[in-house]
Amino acid sequence: MTLANASKPILRRDEAGGETVRYALFVLVAGLVALFFLMPIVWSIANSFKPAAEALADPVSLVSSAFSLENYRRLEGVGAGWTSYAANSVVVALGTVALTVLVAVPAGYGFSKFRFPGQTLLFVLVMATMMIPFQSILTPLFLILKWLRLQNSLFGLVLIYVTFQLPFSIFMMRNAFDAVPRALIEAARIDGASQWTILRRIMLPIALPGVATVAMFAFLNSWNEFLAALIFLSDQNKFTLPIMLVNVSSGIYGIIDWGALQAGITVTMVPCIVLFLSLQRYYVRGLTAGAVK
């Protein structure tokens, strides 16, 4: 009896010790993995604030002794200036977000809460377009835009992005609306609400995480897209940030200006990071909507 009592605290200390070691190991491994993923971002940001000479110095150093905005100033001299390209990117990304949400929300609501002939076939057809490689239909898309007189137009580019964003967005919104109990719609119908009121006042606020997810994906994809923007835009003043990054070069031989390029990368990725971090709470809830009751 005495022995048993005496041994108990020792066992507990051992267990606690083991737990601490396991936790420390977990933190160490997680920290290393996080560092691995964060390094390119940190590297870009750090390099963007170095003087031009230090950007190519050997041996390289992460943090410079001299803080400089020289790279950002040089970026202003690239083509029409980085602010113009950033403005174009903002217009295209916000336009894509607005149009995608405007179409995907009612479409997802329709697929989720209404039954109509050919519903499954139509949904499968919409989903099937996700399997078509974007690059394979660039030529017909170009011809369509030309016919619509929308080539070399930011609005035309927005339409292209919305087209490719819609299948996933409709799928997301359908899932988001599926997770809303049918009884809420029925209660609202009994309360005398119209379909529009039900969608606006009941369904949409509840399915907001889904909308946030759709909006975020639309923003990130259109913000970062390169190939379509390169092909459908020919006027230098209408280029978006990813195209600007390719054009960041200096000298008559087109040597890449690494310092300015890092500044450009920083300018391009910061809005994405801010948006992702601010919406991640909704984003996770949106993706898992309907997974469990």
């Binding site: 109990p181 009884a183 809420l184 029925e186 209660a187 609202a188 119908r189 009994i190 309360d191 509840i206």
Partner: protein, 363 residues
């Protein structure tokens, strides 16, 4: 005045008829409870009254006006759902005022009505909370509040207590009944719980396989069930049934059970049952029609071996085998034997029931 009439109401899904012609006339301020097993068509009937399901055939009229083609919001009804169906992103006050806003009622009138309803249901302190911050019972009250603010012609309840624990269910049952007394309104209440039906209803409608088996006051259904189904569904524990044959033995009318046991039918019932002599019947007797003490006129004494004893406090349930079936008797606790022992059980044959063996209709 809000009379609710259902005339030959049918609901079919393809070839399957969920509701097969329901006829019912519900009087103004009457509290009617639809009860029956899962899939009997009770909820579908309620949803047709609400306008949430299309009516495949027949007619539903509220206050003399046929509502078949009216939208739910145009029927002047209010419904309390099984899962409450409160809008999770709105506060309690917003939940309650939503329907009034749809009617474009002046803000001051909306606030006055919400306040009044909240006082009636004792949820005044919860008006600023969201449904997620409420307990099950509080949510139930808010759902009822949402229904009463609009002062509807008909209240519809779709198994509103089934998500609550047993104690709260009993409490809310009383509150709904009290609310009906306070605000008399025509009410249709759906449940699968026969105790809820018995305790709350002015009239109980027992449904089975899409049809009304019997509609009547609770006591009538208990004492005079129209069929074996109703007899088995109403009452807890449910009625015991034994296959038997009705025979004339000399001057007596007797029941011969499957194992040859003979039970004498009381004289008072001869006129009713004699025409069915020599027919196979089902003998029904409620657990509470059996007793550990004799002495009553028309009682038959049986020697049984008790298999299982369930003391409930006020009564003790005993289970025993008779004529190839397991029977339950509710006896006085002081006469309860131990499991495995024998006892003399007295069957009050004046409270016996007989049903046609083929159709199940009461004889």
């Amino acid at each position: 005045m809000a009379r609710l009439e259902l005339k030959r109401v049918i609901k079919s899904y393809g070839n399957y008829e969920a509701v097969r012609g329901v006829d019912l006339d519900i009087a103004d301020n009457e509290f009617v409870v639809f009860v029956g097993p899962s899939g009997c068509g009770k909820s579908t009937t309620l949803r047709m009254i609400a306008g949430l399901e299309h009516i495949s055939g027949g007619e539903i009229a509220i206050d003399g006006r046929v509502v078949n083609r009216l939208q739910p919001g145009e029927r002047d009804i209010a419904m309390v759902f099984q899962n409450y169906a409160l809008y999770p992103h709105m506060s309690v006050a917003e939940n309650m005022s939503f329907c009034l806003e749809q009617q474009r009622m002046p803000r001051a009138e909306i606030e006055a009505r919400v306040r009044r309803a909240a006082e009636t249901l004792h949820i005044g302190a919860l008006l600023d909370r969201r449904p997620g911050q409420l307990s099950g019972g509080q949510r139930q009250r808010v759902a009822m509040g949402r229904a009463i603010v609009r002062n509807p012609k008909v209240f519809l309840f779709d198994e509103p207590l089934s998500n609550l624990d047993a104690k709260l269910r009993v409490q809310m049952r009383t509150e709904i009944k009290r609310l009906h007394q306070l605000i008399p309104t025509t009410t249709v209440y759906v449940t699968h719980d026969q105790i809820e039906a018995m305790t709350m209803a002015d009239r109980v409608v027992v449904m089975n396989a899409g049809l009304i088996e019997q509609a009547g006051p609770p006591q009538e259904l208990y004492h005079h069930p129209a069929s074996r189904f109703v007899a088995g569904f109403i009452g807890s524990p449910s009625m015991n049934f034994l296959d038997a044959r009705l025979e004339i033995s000399g001057d007596d009318l007797v029941l011969v059970l499957a194992d040859g046991l003979v039970l004498r039918v009381p004289e008072a019932k001869w006129a009713r049952y004699r025409p069915h002599a020599d027919e196979p019947v089902v003998f029904g007797i409620r657990p509470e029609a059996m007793s550990g003490t004799g002495g009553r006129a028309g009682a038959v004494a049986l020697e049984v071996t008790v298999d299982l004893v369930e003391p409930l406090g006020a009564a003790t349930m005993i289970y025993f085998d008779l004529a190839g079936a397991t029977l339950c008797a509710s006896i006085e606790p002081e006469h309860a034997p131990a499991a495995g022992s024998s006892m003399t059980l007295h069957l009050d044959m004046n409270r016996m029931h007989l049903f046609d063996a083929a159709s199940g209709r009461a004889l």
